[in-house]
């Protein structure tokens, strides 16, 4: 950093006032990102609402159809099936991530060398691409001969097909999603646990509180901001996360019998396999609106994105 004192005369080299110069600089600094976000995120969000009112074919011919896509949606059993699968996926994923993330964090909470290694091992799956994750798990559960498929008779499950049976495929997809995401949630919880002052625990020990009482009366209440954040983002991940798309796309393609067809997969198929861009946009617009509502809620409840406990 240069600390040499320059002649003061250089300061007034512009006819603009200092305030105006700050304005212009501010706008110019924000411009590239603001423009990019507008074109590649804001516009698509808006467009999904507009496109939903059109019939768009694969070649880009548009025809205004009003609410036709939305009425079609209401009568489309596959849309309702996908909505149901999405809800089931979220209902399983959100609590599982909460419990697994928090349990792992408590397990390795103390900072030492051993826990450092264990933490890295729990987080390692998150470093691998979802495509590889999906491929590896698909290999582990190949019917009858996959390593995990061989274990099922021993567990009394009688050679189930993890991906081929509509009753099990969604569970398999949820399990793989949890495996991929839990290390990430563990880290978020570790960050939250770190913020709880140790003196609370010390005071509780003096009062003769056991480990369960400490967890129940100190850890959980003081973890509220973290819990809130975790539930929020895991809900978003469940409904619209790329882990849901990538894992399902590679492992099952939405099948068998549409049992793993979450909305984002169904939307993608409608658009890119059947060229029904308008219909796909109409379905996506429902997701956009619900995500916006969730973001608004989050913004209000956290006073502008402050998650830390103050």
């Amino acid at each position: 950093m240069s600390t040499s004192v320059r002649p003061k005369t250089k300061f007034r080299h512009s006819r603009l006032s200092a305030r105006n110069r700050e304005w212009i600089a501010g706008y110019l600094f924000v411009l590239p990102d603001a423009l990019g976000l507008l074109v590649f995120l804001g516009l698509p969000m808006l467009l999904s609402l507009v496109l939903g009112l059109y019939d768009v074919d694969g070649f880009g011919a548009y025809r205004f159809v009003g609410m036709a896509n939305y009425t079609k949606m209401m009568r489309d059993p596959l849309f309702w099936q996908s909505a149901k699968v999405t809800a089931l996926y979220a209902l399983m994923l959100v609590p599982l991530l909460y419990v697994c993330g928090l349990s792992l964090a408590l397990l390795v909470q103390k900072t030492n060398r051993f826990n450092g290694v264990i933490r890295s091992m729990f987080f390692a799956p998150h470093m691998v691409s979802l495509i590889v994750v999906a491929l590896v798990w698909q290999f582990l559960v190949v019917d009858k001969i996959g390593v995990l498929s061989r274990l099922t008779p021993a567990l009394g499950l009688g050679g189930i097909s993890f991906l081929g049976d509509p009753d099990y495929a969604l569970f398999t997809v949820v399990a793989v999603s949890v495996w991929f995401l839990m290390g990430y949630y563990m880290l978020i919880f570790l960050g939250g646990l770190q913020d709880i002052p140790a003196m609370y625990y010390e005071a509780a020990t003096m009062d003769g509180a056991g480990p369960i009482a400490k967890f129940w009366y100190i850890t959980l209440p003081l973890l509220k901001p973290t819990s809130f954040f975790v539930i929020m983002i895991s809900m978003v991940a469940a409904v619209a996360g790329s882990q849901a798309f990538d894992i399902i796309w590679v492992m099952t393609g939405g099948g068998p019998a549409n049992s793993t067809s979450v909305l984002i997969v169904y939307i993608y198929q409608q658009a890119f396999s059947f060229g029904a861009f308008g219909y796909a946009a109409a379905m996506a617009s429902i997701l956009v609106i619900s995500l916006m509502a969730m973001t608004g809620l989050m913004f209000l409840l956290t006073r502008g994105g402050r998650f830390s406990y103050e």
């Binding site: 250089k10 826990n115 691409s129 400490k214 790329s242 796309w249």
Partner: protein
């Protein structure tokens, strides 16, 4: 290990700690087991793919050789590298500029702009992919590097984190430069950027990883094999060689290794940045 336990009294500690560590170790091994298995199969011959032994009886490089020679895998890797590095560099540049202005400069509409950026925070790619595809197609960017790269640059997360970071810097730091008569660009370039090194390097790792691992957008925007990134290549590989698991897992290993090596080297930074950001 001398620190007293938060949950247990001293007399409970020794016994509990042993059980605790055993449980942790077993769970951690179970967690990494699929990855170890992947590497093991990559070194096994085709007839051994489903043998229950973790170690290959006759380790071989032939699967890797096959994947690298019979499939344009090197090309896919170079495409991925080019896309990931470009997105990371440009994104960090733009986001630090925007973050600096939103944190430090006063101009009308600043809060509104921040709010607008914040509102896109949770909107993920799968949700907007249909209209995004239509926009990029209208711009004539299908099957181009620009089409893969440019839309991947912009995300609110990086701006948000950098803004938080700049808000936490003491104002006195810039004052010397202001007294010096430096313009805002010079302050940004020679004061703010050098101070951002820790957060920029943490974000650089996260951005690189996210883009190296990205699948959905490259799959959608580039159908021409010339532009395939490695994730698209491997997913396509699967549909062609669906039963040749030894090749598929060798390919998976090649794809996973750069990120796992990056993780081994930077594990502290990666995990700390996620832990403290509380955001991905």
């Amino acid at each position: 290990m001398s620190k007293p336990s938060l949950y247990f009294s001293n007399s409970q500690v020794t016994a509990v700690r042993l059980i605790w560590m055993t449980v942790a170790a077993i769970l951690a091994l179970m967690t990494v087991f699929p990855l170890l298995w992947m590497v093991s199969i990559a070194f096994k011959g085709a007839q051994e793919s489903f043998s229950p032994a973790l170690l290959p009886s006759a380790p071989t490089w032939s699967n890797f050789v096959y994947v690298l020679t019979e499939v344009p895998f090197i090309r896919y890797m170079l495409n991925s590298l080019f896309v990931s590095v470009t997105v990371t560099v440009v994104a960090l540049f733009f986001h630090s500029m925007a973050g600096y202005a939103l944190a430090r400069l006063r101009f009308p509409g600043r809060e509104l702009i921040f709010l607008a950026i914040f509102s896109t925070l949770l909107v993920s790619l799968p949700v907007v992919i249909v209209p995004l595809f239509i926009i990029v197609r209208a711009m004539g960017m299908l099957n181009t590097y620009g089409g893969i790269i440019i839309p991947s640059i912009f995300n609110a997360f990086g701006i948000f984190l950098l803004r938080q970071y700049y808000l936490s810097l003491p104002r006195e730091i810039e004052e010397a430069a202001v007294m010096d008569g430096a313009g805002y660009w010079r302050i940004y370039w020679s004061v703010i950027l050098p101070l951002s090194k820790p957060i920029l390097s943490a974000l650089a790792i996260l951005f690189f990883l996210a883009n190296w691992n990205a699948f959905l957008w490259p799959l959608t925007v580039a159908s021409d094999q010339k532009f395939w990134v490695v994730q698209v290549g491997i997913a396509n590989f699967k549909s062609e060689y669906s039963a040749a698991w030894n090749y598929m897992l060798a390919a998976s290993t090649i794809v996973a290794i750069p990120t796992l090596v990056l993780f081994l080297v930077f594990q502290r930074q990666i995990m700390d940045s996620i832990k403290t950001s509380g955001l991905k």
